[in-house]
């Protein structure tokens, strides 16, 4: 039983985290090009931007 409560608690924390991340992303207006941002770590060192878009 306590495990179930813990799991529910963790899942709700994840929901909260997701919503907060979304709010952060909307605030910084990077949700419109999230596809490119998600691929940034895979870019080669010389072309990886120090100028984060």
């Amino acid at each position: 039983m306590s495990v179930l409560v813990l799991q529910v608690f963790v899942s709700l924390m994840l929901v909260l985290g997701a919503v907060l991340l979304l709010a952060w992303s909307i605030r910084h207006a990077d949700h419109e090009h999230a596809d490119r941002l998600s691929l940034l770590p895979l870019e080669e060192e010389d072309s990886s931007s120090k100028h984060e878009a």
């Binding site: 929901v15 909307i26 120090k50």
Partner: protein, 798 residues
Amino acid sequence: MQARSTCLHCKTPIPPSLEGKDFCCTGCEAVYGLLHREGLGRYYELAGDKTAPVGEVSGPRSHSWLEPLVARAEEAGGSICTLDLDVQGIHCAACVWLMNELFKREKGGVSLHVNPGIGKVRLAWKRGDFDVERFVSRVEEFGYLFGPSKKTSNESTRSLLLRLGATAAIAGNVMLFSLAFYTGLGPEDGVVYELFTKLSVALSALVVFVGGWPFFRSAWKALSKGVLHLDLPIAAGILLAFGASLYQARGGQGELYYFDTLNVFVLLMLVGRWLQQRVLEKNQRFLLEDVGTEGITVRRREGDRLVFVSAPQIRKGDELVIAPGDLVPVDAEVQAPSAFTIDWITGEPDVVAVPAGGTVQAGAFNATRSAVTVVAKTDFEESPLPSLLRSTREERGTSHLRFWDLFARYYVAAVLLIATIGLFLWLPKGPEKALQVTVALLVVTCPCAIGIAIPLAYELAQARLRRQGLFVRSKSLLDKLPRVRKVLFDKTGTLTLGRLTLVDEGALDHLSEELRDALYDMVARSNHPVSRAIARALEKRSARYSAEANVHEVPGQGLELRRDGKVYRLGRADWAATGGAYEAASSAATVLSVDGIAAATFRTRETVRSDARREIEALRATGLSIWLVSGDSRAKVLAMAEELGIEPENVRAQMSPDAKAELVESLDREDTLFVGDGVNDSLAFSRAFVAGTPAVDRPVLPSRSDFFLLGEGIGAIRQAIELSKHLQRTVRRLIGIALAYNLLAISASMAGWMTPLRAAIAMPASSTLVLAFAVASMMSTRESRVEKKRKEQQLVPA
């Protein structure tokens, strides 16, 4: 080998007149070449098919507006300077990547933060170590345009997206809890049942509050105005489903909760609302918020020279020469009696006479046949012109808009009536059962088709048009286009590519200095396209301007200047060269004469848009009546009409802005489409049922039009009309499907068969069905099938 059918840069179809070429316009060709020369070919990998046509390549832009902004940023404290700018032309992540790549190549840059959602950039650089203008010019070479920071992010769209995200996240969890109830979780399970119930209640309350708020607010607003809005049954459904579920939760009947249905319902409605808002905003924000005052040029006297300056450079006390038909950019004092029109501001067609020393207001057009000198009373910064230009076109009431309004009212009334009937029918069986039936009725009759599927169909239609280079600006355009029966085209700049060019500029070099100055004095005071072409060529040759010159414009003939006992004329050969025989071959050219003896001839070139003839034929073939309306001479307009296959009876030449507007008004039966490109077309725009412009780089019109075009062709207009008809059919079918579903669902609910579980299945199933239908229908127009076939046949070069 077969030629390409789509542009290598933007993937739009190549007009037949450019068959054999790889690009749809010179802009795309230039940008494609530049990207490859600069080693930025990866742009295409990132962009996919999201690129839009670049359009006609214009010369380098003035960045006079940038200097004070950079100076202000440099003057602020600290070693790092920052500056916000608006940018036009960002489509996707590839544009962000491209700008970053170009930024990294500049010395002294610290960071570039691009906001593609609203088209803004924030630059940061080391003080004195970075050339902002150079960077801006470099990026503009790729087809983007920068302007002062004026765009602001739309708070309502941002908040709607956040509400949507939060609702989606919570709805997922509530659905998992509901699954437990449907599979037998009951009060006998003790703490788990209690926990899941409490969580369902708490999270659903959050969804009702966060996700339902936009619907409650708009339903309340409409109700307070006495209007039945479509959000009313949505709001009522949300509240009743939540209330009924709370009631069941108190009674300990988990299987009767509507929590998951409620959450999904709110989520779907939010998706629809967000789609609607996002599409329109995306198109409206594509352009610079700046109204294009940089694009308004005015002749300013500087000593014995007349210099074309952009409006923002005007300062109080500047002496400005306003040519016939030109715009006065600031409030000014008139130096000689003159007359002006301000119809595009007030709608009054009367010409206003202004005496010498009188004040003419900013935004007035010179309505006389002579240039008038005015003295600016204020700096341009204080001019009311920008706010006048920013005023947007009013949405005109149409039967289609009325249809949606009526449909929503009847729908709301019908749903509320049916729910009430259900309540009273089942009341004898007890209030609990009656409430169950009423809630089921309100939940299953959710307007999914109208709330989600129809906005999605509009989004798909608009996305399709964007790819063809047509950007929708007004909400009602796609509803209005199927009604269009008459298409009126302006000539210069709309069916042609704007400015004229001199065929042989060298002719000017053979003129004496005296003759060149006299010619400049004439053309500098005229707004005629030929005069502008000659004036541009003479400016490069440092011709001098004399403020005292008395130039008179003879309508339909040309310009006349009397100086030192000589009569200089520039215009039609039979009018200018009266004193001597003149070759018949020169009759088509503009002749410069001194005392009736021809001194030089000038031929100009006007480029017709590549697909104009084909598109006009195609539009006529669909039963539309095509009109050509121009301020140009009758001979020229008729020649163009013949070239384009427009009947002479549908041609109107030498039309003033008022005459254009009157013609549009007389023809309009809520079925006219006017396509124009100049400030003087704005009155006709306001009278037309639908208005569009290819002039995104000039002021006024994009903000006053229902759509704007990018690229060199006008083919997107026909596609928009066809697509709007297809959309109309799709919408009707969607309404048919929704009605059929509702009939079934209402019958089941009235019979008392609808349980929360069944509603939880039926409602999303019906939504998915209408969504799938909308997608399938809009992705498969007849044209797309033809396009696909063409692509299959096409041989793509390596």
